[in-house]
C-alpha cells in the first residue's frame, strides 16, 4: 500500500460543504465563433487548440501515469496505466470513474474512461507531431481518416473535454479554448481538405 496523504481521510465533508453559485459545471464558456474557417490551416489550428489542451493530453501521457488537474500532475494515489490502459486488476478506472461526471464527489466520468494507448502518447509533442501521430495507422489504432473523424467528433470520451464537470471543490474544470461546435467544424474541414499537416517551419 502506498502511504499517501493520510490527511485526506476525514477531510472536510465536501459534499455538504459545496457552495451554491451559478450553473452545474458551466465554467467560462469558450467563445463560439460562427465565422467560417477560411483555410485548412486555420481549421488545423482550431482543432489543435483542443487536442493540445490538458483535458485531452492528461489522458495521452507518454508514460504509465495518467495526469490530472489544471497543472497536469500525476494522478494521485499512484494510479497506473495497467495492461489494458484502464488501471490495475482490482483497482481500475471504473473503481472511481463512471459513465458520467459525478458532481457529488467531483470525479470526472464518461463512457470507456481510460488512457489512450502508449502508441497515442501526445504528452510533450508539438501540435504537428500530434497530428502526424494521429494520422499514422500504426499508431492511431489503425483508423482510416473516416474513422478518425468519427473518433474525434463523436466519441463520448473525446467530447467529454467540453463537459468536464467540476472538481472536488465544486469548481468547474477548465474547458478547451474553443467551443465544441467550432472544434467539430474545424476537424471536419481539415479532414475534408485532405488532413494536411501544415509545414511547421513556415508556421
Amino acid at each position: 500500500m502506498k502511504r499517501i496523504k493520510t490527511w485526506l481521510l476525514f477531510s472536510p465533508l465536501l459534499v455538504a460543504g459545496i457552495m451554491v453559485i451559478g450553473n452545474p459545471g458551466s465554467g467560462t464558456e469558450p467563445p463560439h465563433k460562427t465565422a467560417e474557417l477560411t483555410t485548412p490551416d486555420e481549421a488545423f489550428d482550431v482543432m489543435m487548440q483542443v487536442l493540445t489542451h490538458k483535458r485531452c493530453v492528461n489522458c495521452h501521457p507518454a508514460d504509465n501515469y495518467p495526469r490530472q488537474g489544471e497543472d497536469s500532475h500525476k494522478h494521485l494515489f499512484g494510479v497506473e496505466r495497467g495492461v489494458a490502459n484502464a488501471g490495475m486488476a482490482a483497482t481500475n478506472c471504473n473503481t472511481c470513474h463512471q459513465d458520467e461526471n459525478n458532481n457529488y464527489s467531483g470525479v470526472p466520468g464518461a463512457p470507456e474512461w481510460s488512457l489512450a494507448p502508449l502508441s497515442m502518447a501526445w504528452q510533450g509533442l508539438t501540435k504537428y507531431e500530434i497530428a502526424r501521430s494521429m494520422l499514422d495507422r500504426n499508431k492511431n489504432g489503425n483508423r482510416s481518416l473516416e474513422e478518425l473523424e468519427h473518433h474525434l467528433t463523436e466519441h463520448a470520451l473525446v467530447l467529454w473535454a467540453f463537459e468536464p464537470g467540476v472538481n472536488a471543490e465544486g469548481i468547474p474544470r477548465e474547458k478547451p479554448p474553443v467551443s465544441k461546435e467550432d472544434y467539430i467544424t474545424a476537424v471536419k474541414e481539415w479532414i475534408e481538405h485532405g488532413a494536411v499537416v501544415p509545414d511547421e517551419t513556415t508556421n
Binding site: M1, K2, R3, I4, K5, T6, L8, L9, F10, S11, L13, L14, V15, I18, M19, V20, I21, G22, N23, P24, G25, S26, G27, L76, F77, G78, V79, E80, M88, A89, A90, T91, N92, N94, T95, C96, H97, Q98, D99, E100, N102, N103, Y104, S105, G106, V107, V166, A168, E169, G170, I171, P172
Partner: protein, 170 residues
C-alpha cells in the same frame, strides 16, 4: 472567487438492485451517491464515509464483483446490479477468507477504514489469487489514518493463502 456549481434539483426515481443477495427497490435521487442509499435508506452502516471524493476508499463495495467507491457512484447506476457490502462478505459462522485473515492478524486499530480495505482486498484476490507485494501496492490504495498497513499486508497474503486452500480443497 471561483464560480462554484449548483446541484441539480433531485430527480426521484425507482432503482432496483440486489444487495448482499437480497432484492431491494428504493425511491431516491438517481444522482445521489449509492453510499447514502446503503447507509441511510438500507441502514447498512458497515460501509463508511471518509472523504466523499473517491480518495480514501472507506466506502468501497462490490458492484457485480468489481470494487467500486460508492461515494462516487450514482445510485441510478445500481439498477439491476448485484451489490455486496462488508455485511455480505461473510459472517461469524462462515467468514470470508479476508475476514478470517483480518482476525488472525489482528489488523484493525480504530477500525474505521477496515471495511473498505477488506472489500478492496476481496476484489484483489478474486482477480489475482496470489498477489505479490507489488500487486498489493498497485491495487490496495485506500487510506488508513491509524497506519495499519503493515498488518494489512500480512493479512492480504494470508487471505490469499486461505482462499487458495479452500479452493484447492473443494
Amino acid at each position: 472567487m471561483a464560480q462554484l456549481f449548483q446541484m441539480k434539483p433531485p430527480t426521484k426515481m425507482n432503482i432496483s438492485f440486489k444487495i448482499n443477495g437480497k432484492a431491494h427497490s428504493v425511491d431516491t435521487d438517481g444522482d445521489a451517491p449509492l453510499l447514502w442509499v446503503i447507509r441511510d435508506v438500507l441502514d447498512l452502516k458497515g460501509t463508511k464515509f471518509g472523504c466523499g471524493k473517491a480518495a480514501c476508499g472507506a466506502c468501497t463495495i462490490h458492484v457485480d464483483g468489481e470494487a467500486v467507491r460508492s461515494c462516487s457512484f450514482a445510485a441510478k447506476f445500481a439498477e439491476g446490479k448485484e451489490i455486496t457490502t462488508i455485511e455480505g462478505l461473510g459472517n461469524a459462522e462462515n467468514p470470508h477468507p479476508v475476514q478470517q485473515a483480518w482476525i488472525e492478524e489482528i489488523v484493525p486499530q480504530c477500525g474505521y477504514c477496515q471495511p473498505g480495505f477488506m472489500m478492496a482486498t476481496a476484489a484483489l484476490i478474486d482477480k489475482n489469487p496470489s498477489p505479490t507485494d507489488e500487486d498489493i501496492d498497485d491495487n490496495i490504495i485506500n487510506i488508513c489514518r491509524c497506519g495499519t498497513y503493515y498488518r494489512m499486508r500480512k493479512a492480504i497474503h494470508r487471505a490469499a493463502e486461505l482462499k487458495n486452500s479452500t479452493t484447492s480443497n473443494s
